[in-house]
């Protein structure tokens, strides 16, 4: 039995050995086949290699382009630079899965710090006050709009350090405005990013900086443009004013010449008329005494009756001419500053209202809005009253009924008084000619057209300005401005 079993064991052992050998042979054969397959694969792979790497590159480029184009799109549609910045930071933070810190500063000792979580979409102030980031900046290489790895060189960064969770930091700084700087720090779980991601990050940052610069150039250009517009407007106004004052000066000279020339003849016509009146009386007396000896004559008696009236009318006429000449004189006379003293425009206005009241009370109500604290101006009270009365009466003439005349005073670097009405208003043509002597909108014989030109001369004499705001059918406002005393 044992011999037999020994034989069996030997036989079985032999079988196992042979089987093991067979297994080994099979394995060797399989290995050889696999090697052959592998060689074929290798060969195949070699021919595909370039294609595969091109495909991989294309895929990476596509991702890169997607990020960049999303950013570019946001930069184009963002209405403000802060919106642009937020989008850039959110995209970057999502790409890198890191928390973003933004430091905004002019002076590194007083920087404002903002924080953006990987999941948030809005920047939030991190500290209540400002923080000192001088030490932090010392560890950052000069800004050239590239992301850089940030490591402490042993400097204490201050209380910001406790907000960095991972200590794998990258920084990026740029200058959004001339005197301001921004520093972006991203707190990352690691630095393991592919070259593509790093490149995308850098390109995105540069794209962001140039978009920002472009935007701020645009904003600067827009500001300059507005300033230019304002300057042009101011120049136009000044030119208009210059032309106007030149015109008024020429008219003033002309008026002075006429007044001077007319004054003489008026003088003797006026005195001659007085003498003539006396003569007429003597003639009348003589005629009455000698009436019996003179044959009845209708024409003579008519002339005798009419002459008195004619004389009175001549007197009236010459008085009117004299008035006009005197008006022209006050328009052209500019050198009469001797009687100037401190005048309060509120008092001038109150008295002017009293005097004008009789003329305006029928169709208008007068409202006052005085600043009781306006400073005094240097001027001639009577003349200023003349101006205001003229403006108030003119206002009431522009009103048919239920008028409202508002007189307001206020002051800034100058002292102002305005007279506004809710009357018929004026068109451009009227406004342009308003201050010319003899220009009037009133019916013939109702106004001389000298009121406003004299007022103008008076205001000029007071070194003041006069501005008019007027809209047809809505009303007119005259604003007089005088230098403080």
């Amino acid at each position: 039995m044992s011999i037999k079993s020994d034989d069996q064991v030997a036989k079985l052992t032999r079988h196992v050995k042979l089987l093991e050998q067979a297994l080994l042979d099979e394995r060797e054969a399989k290995k050889a086949l696999e090697q052959k397959l592998d060689d074929i694969d290798q060969h195949k792979f070699e021919s595909y290699k370039e294609l595969i790497s091109a495909l991989k590159q294309a895929n990476n480029r596509q991702i890169q382009l997607k990020v960049l184009s999303t950013l570019a799109h946001h930069q184009a549609v963002s209405t403000s630079t802060i919106e642009m910045l937020t989008t850039f930071l959110v995209e970057t933070s999502q790409l890198l899965e890191g928390a973003v810190f933004l430091f905004d500063y002019k002076n590194p000792e007083r920087a404002v710090c903002y924080h953006l979580n990987a999941t948030a979409s809005k920047l939030e102030r991190l500290f209540h006050g400002r923080i000192d980031i001088t030490n932090l900046l010392d560890d950052i290489e000069e800004d050239d709009s590239h992301w850089r790895r940030l490591q402490s060189s042993g400097n204490e960064w201050g209380k910001i350090t406790e907000h960095f969770a991972n200590n794998y930091l990258i920084s990026f700084s740029y200058q959004p405005l001339k005197k301001r700087k921004n520093l972006v720090i991203i707190d990352l779980p690691h630095y393991c990013y592919s070259e593509d991601v790093k490149q995308t990050l850098d390109t995105a940052a540069q794209q962001f900086v140039s978009a920002l610069q472009k935007r701020s150039t645009e904003e600067k250009l827009a500001r300059n443009f507005h300033q230019l517009e304002r300057t042009v407007k101011k120049l136009k106004n000044t030119q208009k004013q210059l032309v106007h004052s030149e015109k008024m000066a020429s008219i003033g000279q002309l008026a002075a010449g006429i007044a001077h020339e007319v004054n003489n003849p008026i003088g003797y016509v006026k005195s001659n008329l007085s003498v003539l009146s006396e003569y007429v009386e003597i003639f009348n007396k003589a005629l009455n005494e000698a009436a019996e000896h003179i044959p009845a004559d209708d024409e003579l008696s008519f002339a005798q009756d009419d002459i008195g009236e004619l004389m009175a009318s001549c007197h009236e006429g010459i008085e009117r001419v004299a008035d006009i000449v005197s008006g022209l004189n006050s328009f052209s006379r500019k050198d009469d500053e001797a009687k100037f003293s401190a005048v309060n425009l509120n008092h001038v206005a109150e008295e002017s209202i009293k005097i004008a009241w009789n003329q305006v009370k029928y169709n208008s109500e007068v409202v006052t809005d005085f600043d009781e604290d306006i400073p005094a101006i240097d001027g001639h009270k009577g003349e200023l009253q003349q101006v205001l009365i003229n403006l108030i009466v003119n206002a009431s003439h522009a009103i048919e009924e239920n008028g409202l005349i508002t007189i307001k005073t206020w002051s800034d670097d100058k002292v102002h008084i305005s007279v506004s009405d809710n009357g018929s208003g004026m068109d451009e043509n009227t406004k342009n000619k308003l201050f010319e002597p003899f220009f009037t909108t009133k019916p013939e014989g109702k106004g001389t057209g000298l009121g406003l030109s004299i007022s103008y001369a008076i205001i000029e004499k007071h070194s003041g300005d006069i501005a008019i705001e007027s809209t047809v059918d809505e009303g007119t406002q005259f604003i007089l401005s005088f230098p403080r005393k």
């Binding site: 696999e34 397959l37 393991c192 990013y193």
Partner: protein, 180 residues
Amino acid sequence: MKGAIFCGYRDYVEQAHGIVTWLEIIDRSELAESSSFIATDLYEDKIFVELLTITVELLDVELSELLRAFGKFLFPTLAGAASHHMDACDNVFDFLDHVENVIHIEVKKSDPMAYTPSLILDKVDDQTLLLKYTSHRQVCFLAEGLIYGAANHFNEDVAVEHVSCTHHGDKHCLLKVTTK
């Protein structure tokens, strides 16, 4: 996963624990269809995970110990296949810098369109290396084993720490390799 890894694992188990252990593992496996794997074919990762799990149970060893041992065993095989890459390296960090070219080419050879994970590293300092392994396959443990194998090859002693891992719900695996 490349069949060569399975073949390597079989060789390792047979050499360290005998052919019967290997056959026992295959017998217990529900996913493996045969005890023989073709080196040039690609197999599902989960099969390998299952084989490892069974081995850990059967032999009552720590997974990390098993991987370390397997990595040491497998590394020369892989290194032999990619000797032109190996010649440029004289330490484990340098090798890890090239490893992507080695592993991925092996996979791509079998299927040019096969998905390959990305392996990105960052040398934190002379002693520390961070390795980010992004993959929808969960074979970071193999990477861990191979790092041990590589260290062994270069006569270095390293510690590999899983800082984050897809097995714990993280987006990617982050391996921290520290030389001692």
